[in-house]
């Protein structure tokens, strides 16, 4: 069984980001980059399938050479191999999904595991686009995945509005991971040492023959208007009075 897991390099979600002077990007000097937290959860789910069903876990990342760091983290966690599709141009969700389609054709995995969204652009599209391009089922926002005994289908529980929905999907399929699917393991020291010996392939994006260019153009980034400062009140009585008479919300 083979599982393909996507890995995106994103700025550390804990970092306070600043818009750069040109206003089209963020200041990256001194910024720490990590594996997209939802992708980490996807990697962990892949590793669980490796442990339970002897699945081969293949990681794929799309970006510049520095994404190597994040792929190594995934390898250190226990994945088997990594593919880095090198591209210098910004790729929007569509380009990403098109590239993944080509990687899918190369690898023919049973499941594509992806984080539900990347915490930099928060688009939440690539998994669904990929499923449509491939004409295969999707189960987004997964909080539980159970493979059938014959590994031909999966029961996926999803977090949706108002409750949890369970779908049964035939494989191959795309599953996107939500927060509560699992708790990703740390890379252990032996894992870190082993990571550098695992197969790592770099493929220039041009070689995959994806013709599509990004449609999303970022014109400007700005920090949202700051709320004007509020006040502290001493007593609950004062608060209620203000809510009633001043804010008029009670």
């Amino acid at each position: 069984m083979k599982v393909l897991v996507t890995v995106k390099r994103v700025p550390d979600p804990e970092a306070k980001l600043k818009v750069d002077p040109e206003g089209k990007g963020i200041v990256t000097q001194g910024l720490k980059f990590v594996v997209n937290p939802f992708d980490e959860i996807a990697i962990e789910e892949g590793l669980k399938m490796k442990e339970k069903h002897k699945a081969e876990v293949v990681l794929v990342s799309i970006g510049k050479k520095d994404s190597t760091e994040q792929l190594r983290t995934g390898l250190a966690m226990g994945a088997d191999r990594a593919i880095l599709v090198l591209t210098d141009d910004g790729a929007d969700s569509e380009v990403v999904a098109r590239i993944l389609t080509k990687v899918y054709e190369m690898e023919k995995p049973d499941i594509v595991l992806m984080g539900k969204q990347a915490v930099d652009d928060d688009m939440n599209q690539a998994g669904q686009l990929l499923a449509e391009y491939l004409g295969i089922p999707q189960a987004t926002f997964a909080s539980k995945v159970e493979l059938s005994a014959d590994l031909k289908s999966a029961k996926v529980t999803r977090e949706i509005d108002g409750g949890m929905e369970t779908l049964e999907i035939q494989l191959p399929a795309v599953i996107t991971a939500d927060l509560r699917l699992n708790t990703p393991r740390y890379a252990s020291l032996p894992g870190i040492m082993k990571a550098k010996t695992k197969p790592f392939k770099e493929i220039p994006a041009a070689e995959l023959g994806v013709q599509v260019k990004p449609k999303v153009k970022i014109l400007k980034l700005e920090e949202p208007p700051k709320r004007k400062g509020g006040i502290k009140v001493e007593t609950v009585q004062e608060l209620v009075l203000k809510l009633k008479n001043e804010a008029k919300v009670l």
Binding site: E69, T73, Y186, A187, L189, P190, I192, A195, K196
Partner: protein
């Protein structure tokens, strides 16, 4: 001179930093208050290979270089000094075997420590022998094919909870250093027991006890090296592990500085964040430069070991300097937090209590200065 971390070192630093933030820090206060062994933390540390970092890979350990290990230890030190002491003391406790043991002894004593969560204890200090190790009164006597150990060790980290104890005893006090011996004593050996647990100012998550040897008998193949090798093994062990103490100090100081910086940005007095006042700025500036200097000294002392070069001077520099830096940084952090810093609700009072031990154990800073001066004034 290349100061960049390798990919593996960055990955190691990341995993350790996450571990410190997500596993150690959330329960640090609890274990500081109760003194309970942080079993879940140690279990996870074992799973990640932290506890066996001092055991060479061919014996089943993580086999980190000393430079790798101080990168690891700094991160852990920022999580909780006490828990890090337990882990670091394990490396300390097993290093005499690494340095003085035969291949067969390494397999016998070290490999089992890699198979399940295990701590180790370095038994040198005694009630009457701290800075002066040769004041030791623990004796070892050859009886047939065995050695019998008698004596009491004090202030032993992991004293009640170790799988392996390395103990230093003298076979003939009149021979001084040449009578000193190092032996490996596994848990469960009759005559080996732990005494009372110390109720300490800091590092309270770390188990510190007396270790008592009462006609403790081990077969002769538990002697590391020959009779009389003990002093050399002890000193080489301390040189090798002293950089880790310095790294712990750097991590602790850094945690205090980071907390102080964040607080200085948020806390407002006289209409502005207190970080705008020079008094606070100067304290933070001093923290920054001293921590960076301590870190570099620590890296140097570890790098020398990895190059196979003598590092006694540099490891003394590093330990003494870094622990003094940690004491100052943590004390200043409490000062910056003001009244809040004096309460247990904020982490800085614990940092300050934890820092004090770093100036005392693993060779007091007074002894470090004696050693340094002796080296620099050679020929006097």
């Amino acid at each position: 001179m290349d100061f960049t971390l390798t990919e593996e070192q960055k990955a190691l630093q990341d995993t350790a930093r996450k571990f410190a933030r997500e596993v150690m820090a959330p329960v640090a206060r609890k274990h500081d208050e109760t003194g309970e062994q942080p079993v879940e933390v140690l279990e996870k540390a074992f799973e990640l290979g932290f506890l066996t970092e001092g055991i060479p890979a061919e014996y089943g350990g993580s086999g980190l270089s000393r430079l790798d290990s101080i990168i690891l230890t700094e991160e852990l030190g920022a999580g909780c000094a006490g828990m890090t002491t337990s882990m670091m003391a394990t490396t300390l406790g097993l290093t005499p075997v690494v340095i003085g043991g035969s291949d067969e002894q390494k397999k016998r004593f070290l490999t089992p420590l890699t198979e399940k969560r295990s701590l180790a204890a370095f038994c040198l200090t005694e009630p009457e022998a701290g800075s002066d190790p040769l004041g030791s009164t623990t004796t070892v006597k050859k009886v047939g094919n065995d050695y019998v150990i008698n004596g009491i060790k004090r202030f032993i980290s992991n004293g009640a909870v170790s799988e392996l104890y390395t103990v230093f005893a003298t076979v003939d006090k009149s021979k001084g250093a040449k009578g000193f011996c190092a032996l490996a004593v596994p848990k469960g050996t009759p005559g080996l027991s732990a005494g009372k647990e110390e109720d300490k100012l800091g590092h309270r998550a770390s188990n510190t006890t007396e270790v008592i040897f009462e006609d403790c008998k081990v077969s002769a193949d538990h002697m590391l090296g020959k009779e009389g090798d003990g002093f050399k093994i002890a000193m080489a062990t301390l040189d090798r592990t002293r950089p880790a103490v310095a790294a712990l100090a750097v991590g602790l100081a850094r945690a205090a500085m980071e907390a102080a910086i964040e607080y200085s940005k948020l806390r407002k007095q006289f209409g502005m964040p207190i970080g705008m006042f020079q008094a606070i700025q100067f304290m933070i500036a001093d923290m920054g430069m001293q921590i960076e200097a301590a870190r570099l000294l620590t890296c140097l002392s570890a790098w020398l070991i990895d190059q196979g070069l003598k590092n006694s001077l540099q490891s003394s520099y590093a330990k003494c300097f870094a622990s003094d830096v940690a004491m100052k940084a943590t004390t200043d952090a409490v000062q910056i937090f003001g009244g809040y810093g004096y309460t247990k609700e904020y982490p800085v009072e614990k940092y300050m209590r934890d820092a004090k031990l770093l100036q005392i154990y693993e060779g007091t800073n007074e002894i470090q200065r004696v050693v340094i001066a002796r080296e620099l004034l050679k020929g006097i």
